[in-house]
């Protein structure tokens, strides 16, 4: 059930040979869609990594009222259908809506039908990944090391960079990879938020959808091959990192 579809898509994409695949991928519209997908996902990963790590840190280290509510809210994006996420963002930032019109008038920023909308949708969807990847590791971190560092005169920043961050790098990376992999393929929210404007706000998934609809099998297969290859390599890498952090954790425990 998992492997046959892969082979089918690979076979179909390579039907006319590698050079034809390359030609399909480098068509201006397709190439732009791929680039847009990759750079919006990259911006999302940077913001998500920083905010996710801060959120995990706040949830683990600080005590404050409504903490359990905040903890529950983190998972909300996983429960909401992505199409509904798109609708929510359009309702808030659409050009005819109050907030959207104000942003356009004051700062000349459009969010809907533009890259910022794509980035917001991706941030919404992938928010839990970094948080949930970092949180358990942070919980098990040995506080005595930080105290020892503090006793030896290390300041807050030194403690953070030298003691807290190193064991968190692997989980942060895993979470970032998962968010990136998830973002590359996202369709439901983006088709609503960004629309289907070639060379402006059309992402790879939306491009594939358009090519399938217009029965351009070569184009659809070519971009699908690229997307599947990226997804495949990212997931393998994420799996490897997860294993690595598990064995490392086990070593430290012994």
């Amino acid at each position: 059930m998992l492997i046959i579809p892969f082979l089918i898509i690979l076979q179909d994409g390579l039907r006319e040979g590698l050079s034809e695949l390359w030609r399909q991928v480098t068509l201006p519209v397709a190439w732009h869609a791929l680039k847009l997908t990759l750079w919006t996902a990259a911006v999302m990963v940077i913001i998500n990594t920083i905010m996710g790590t801060i959120t995990a840190f706040v949830l683990v280290r600080y005590e404050f009222p409504t903490k359990s509510i905040l903890n529950a809210i983190i998972d909300l994006p996983l429960a909401i259908p992505t199409l509904v996420t798109g609708v929510m963002l359009v309702v808030l930032f659409g050009p005819q809506q109050a907030v959207g019109a104000w942003l356009k008038q004051q700062f000349d920023i459009s969010i809907i039908f533009a890259p910022p909308g794509i980035i917001m949708a991706l941030l919404f969807l992938t928010f839990p990944f970094v948080v949930r990847s970092v949180q358990p590791v942070l919980l098990e971190l040995d506080l005595t090391q930080e105290q020892a560092a503090a006793t030896l005169g290390a300041g807050g920043w030194t403690i953070f960079w030298r003691i807290i961050l190193p064991p968190l790098t692997l989980p942060i990376l895993t979470g970032a990879l998962l968010s990136f992999a998830r973002a590359i393929g996202e369709f439901g929210s983006i088709v609503v938020v960004a629309g289907n404007i070639p060379l402006v706000s059309q992402t790879a998934a939306v491009y594939v959808f358009g090519e399938v609809e217009s029965e351009n099998r070569l184009g659809a297969s070519a971009i699908s091959v690229v997307m599947v290859t990226i997804a495949f390599s990212l997931m393998i890498l994420a799996n490897y990192l997860r294993k690595l952090s598990k064995t490392r954790g086990a070593e430290e425990a012994t």
């Binding site: 059930m1 898509i9 959120t55 404050f64 609708v87 929510m88 992999a181």
Partner: protein, 287 residues
């Protein structure tokens, strides 16, 4: 002697922690403020905006839009596709998780990696794969003709697409539960003369129960929201094949915003209630 040392370090740690929280308190409030601001803008505001604009003119328009037979039909379709998917995954997901935890076989690591793939592959590509398999000139087109079961642009295809997309949930919920399950309980039951079936129902199943329930809820919630794969394999289906997500999409295309927003709100709240409800049940059980 040993004990007293441990006690001493524990209490000094606690004092240290207390002092450090006091010292860091203004910093901690900055952190808390940043997180709440971010979550508020990113998650809460859009949710609230949808609710407000769907309810802007009161419940009236929502009720009228739900009175339309095709809106109800779309919800009905979504629910029964979800139900079929859940039943299939509840059975096969349990078996796969079981085989996975209890047996060592070559290629186990590879399959472990593959199970998560549907999570990373674009739903559009999933739908397209199925189209390549079952479509007009598809690889399996002869099989489709021979059996007379239409897959592409029909319910079987939409169910297959949803099955593919929801594959990881059941397995990922059950594998950790099965891994921590003490297999000696089964041996004990067998020694006491229980049959394999009795052992499963009386010993193993109760231990798995919450894993299965949570896996089912996640699978169901995810299948309610599936859109891209169903859109492609359903052929932008109209009429009888409409699911709720497809209805919302078409309503937006046709600028019927009230209908689209209210259906989106209902679908979103329903999925939320499912996931939050099962989470709450599990926490209650753990206590």
């Amino acid at each position: 002697m040993n004990n007293s040392i441990v006690d001493h370090t524990n209490s000094s740690t606690r004092i240290f922690q207390f002092i450090s929280t006091l010292k860091a308190s203004w910093k901690s409030w900055i952190g808390i403020g940043i997180v709440f601001g971010y979550v508020g803008i990113l998650i809460i505001t859009p949710l609230a905006a949808l609710a407000v604009s769907a309810l802007e003119k009161g419940l009236g328009p929502i009720v009228t839009s739900f009175r339309q037979s095709y809106v109800l039909l779309s919800f009905w379709n979504t629910l029964w596709i979800g139900t079929i998917v859940v039943v299939i995954h509840a059975i096969f997901g349990t078996i796969v998780a079981w085989v996975f935890v209890r047996h060592r076989f070559p290629g186990r690591d590879l399959i472990n990696g593959l199970v998560d793939m549907p999570f990373a592959i674009s739903p559009v590509v999933v739908g397209y794969m199925l189209l390549l398999l079952f479509g007009r000139n598809g690889v399996l087109a002869p099989l489709v003709e021979a059996t007379g079961i239409k897959v592409a642009f029909a319910f079987p295809g939409m169910i297959l697409a949803t099955l593919f997309v929801t594959l990881p949930f059941m397995i990922r919920e059950l594998v950790p539960v099965l891994e921590t399950f003490d297999i000696r309980q089964e041996y004990a039951a067998a020694t006491l003369g229980a049959s394999a079936w009795q052992t499963f129902w009386r010993v193993t199943f109760p231990a798995l129960r919450w894993g299965i329930i949570y896996g089912i809820t996640l699978t169901f919630a995810r299948s309610l929201g599936e859109f891209g794969a169903v859109l492609v394999i359903g052929g932008a289906a109209q009429g009888k094949l409409m699911t709720t997500t497809l209805f919302i999409y078409h309503a937006i295309e046709e600028r019927q915003y009230t209908a689209a927003y209210s259906a989106a709100l209902v679908l979103g709240l329903f999925s939320l209630a499912l996931v939050i409800g099962s989470d709450w049940l599990r926490k209650k059980e753990n206590r």
